[in-house]
């Protein structure tokens, strides 16, 4: 595994993604998702909204890192808030 040059932050990052996928699977088994339409222009399932949330989180982080001097934690907080809004009302 040493050739993959793991670091603690990236390990945490991938563990979080894996945990989310596992969590979504359990959630789906316990109560299957129903496709619905929220404020997004398309009707989405729970998994669609998670994907949109993660993808926009990536671009939020890139924007903050590249073009502002704000802390990356702020980007993380904004992404999490956006993800929650998206999951609930998206």
């Amino acid at each position: 595994m040493s050739w993959m040059v793991w670091t603690v932050p990236t390990a945490i990052f991938f563990s979080a993604i894996a945990a989310m996928l596992a969590g979504m699977t359990v959630w789906e088994i316990v109560s299957p998702t129903i496709e619905r339409k929220g404020f997004l222009p398309i009707s989405t399932t729970r998994g669609d909204r998670l994907f949109v949330g993660l993808l926009s989180a990536a671009f939020i982080h890139l924007g903050v890192i590249g073009y502002t001097s704000l802390s990356i934690w702020l980007a993380l907080a904004a992404s999490l808030a956006w993800l929650l809004v998206l999951m609930r009302w998206g």
Binding site: S2, W3, M4, V5, W6, T7, P9, T10, F13, F14, I29, I42, F51, L55, A58, F59, L62, I65, G66, Y67, I72
Partner: protein
């Protein structure tokens, strides 16, 4: 017909998942790991955090390449899609002519990408190339190694030559699938050729056109071999596209950290565009199904 839903069917995907894990997921994770470090060698790496990402996002050369890439993709789409539709409309519909034209049109698609580059490289040479020599004889000062505009026009021409057939073939198959009844109804209404195109053929082509646009956009956004062979990204950096900048950085200069960060940004852009296209296609089919059901 009732579809049976059984989630155990997912187990059938497992072998593929394992394969993809080794061919894509593990390498992608490694790229992410590289993007936050300066790796000097085995057991010698320094954590750099977001430094590479900041550097890549603010690199003027990469920004220029990104802009160039978008202009290129949009230009070839604006040319190839209408041209492809036009070619599909005038292609013979039955008989041996139809087969002959199909084969002729498919030929450029069968040529390997760097061979296409070589063909056009020779074709546009001023001393021996038919096009280069011919244009010079006509008094045009045409030189793709010196003039950026010439290089651009040639790359666009080359891409149009290479890939319009794909759009034309997709549209042709779309046109073939329109039932004759539509045309008969149009004849009864004495609809003009334009009306037939606007209200029968174009709406029926929407699905294949979305696929054509998606394929052409994705491929032109990742274009590498053809311009690399034809112009090498020159003159200067006027035809250097994203994947070539990436190769120069990763393979030429061995800047693994920055190029890993750049790859991730590139990947995210492609992921975003693919998702938008995919969702559009899926939504269009859903609308169609709900219309059919109503």
């Amino acid at each position: 017909m009732n579809k049976v839903y059984n989630n155990r069917a997912w187990l059938l995907v497992l072998p593929m998942l394992i394969l993809v894990a080794f061919s894509a997921i593990v390498p992608l994770m490694t790229v992410v790991n590289y993007s936050v470090q300066d790796v000097l060698g085995p057991n010698a790496s320094f954590f750099t955090g977001t430094e590479w990402f900041r550097a890549m996002l603010n690199d003027p050369e990469l920004q220029a390449a990104f802009l160039r890439q978008i202009v290129f993709s949009l230009t070839i789409l604006a040319i190839q899609v209408p041209l492809g539709i036009g070619i599909a409309l005038i292609m013979p519909k039955r008989g041996w002519q139809a087969s002959a034209v199909l084969i002729l049109i498919t030929l450029p698609l069968l040529i390997p990408w760097n061979v296409v580059g070589s063909i056009w490289q020779i074709f546009t040479r001023g001393d021996i190339g038919l096009m280069g020599w011919g244009l010079r004889q006509l008094g045009v000062d045409y030189n793709i190694t010196r003039d950026g505009t010439d290089a651009w026009l040639t790359i666009i021409l080359m891409d149009v030559w290479h890939w319009t057939p794909l759009v034309a073939m997709l549209c042709y198959s779309g046109l073939r699938s329109i039932p004759d009844a539509y045309y008969q109804a149009a004849r009864i209404d004495r609809a003009s050729k334009w009306a037939v195109f606007r209200y029968i053929q174009l709406p029926k082509l929407t699905n294949v056109l979305v696929i054509a646009v998606l394929l052409r956009f994705m491929h032109s956004f990742m274009i590498y071999a053809e311009p690399f062979v034809l112009t090498g990204g020159g003159p200067g950096s006027s035809t250097t596209f994203l994947s070539q900048s990436l190769t120069t950085m990763a393979v030429g200069q061995q800047d693994l950290g920055p190029s890993a960060a750049f790859s991730i940004i590139y990947f995210l852009v492609i992921l975003l565009v693919s998702w938008v296209f995919y969702t559009t296609i899926m939504n269009m089919q859903k609308d169609k199904n709900s219309q059919g059901g109503a």
